[in-house]
Symmetry: C2
Subunit: 112 residues, 2 copies
Amino acid sequence: MIHGFATTPQPPYYAVIFTSQRTDGDHGYEAMATTMFELAQRQPGCLGAESARGPDGLGITVSYFADEASIRAWKQEARHLVAQRLGKERWYSHYEMRVAKVERAYCGPEGR
Amino acid sequence: MIHGFATTPQPPYYAVIFTSQRTDGDHGYEAMATTMFELAQRQPGCLGAESARGPDGLGITVSYFADEASIRAWKQEARHLVAQRLGKERWYSHYEMRVAKVERAYCGPEGR
């Protein structure tokens, strides 16, 4: 595994693309984000995750899952439900969630 | 449109997820990244793009396209080919590219 990258299998698998704009101030966000990032990756069917947030507060987290059932199970996980509620109430001024089926993938620059 | 977010139509459409780790130093990267981000969004079939890069140099750019043909055309665009070559030679120590079909999407926190 290369630091920061998810080690995903051959497609097909699923990607949950979460783009979000943070509100000002922490309000417990950083601690919860770290916890959720690690918790997600321990969920059955989770293949890994990647995350980046720029200085303007816009962030993208992509989590990879084996199938739709694993995505649904993670959405309903108890601690994740708490985080989702706080996200709506405190942490995000806007977000977009997109669920997509990965059809092909490649990496670089080595080995192309 | 909300700043930083792509205004995408109802699914289905495609997402090209590009996760990359920058090398040290600029080497012309920032100027080219800005140019390519704008150029991509003027391509036929491009529905928008979102991008974030953290202080550790890990970045995620997601570009949205109407169909596979638009993705292939963008991959072959002349100025983009130059940028891809420089990306491999100079700018990225590693990257992962995944092409995925967006099946469902929603936004928040307003209007849920």
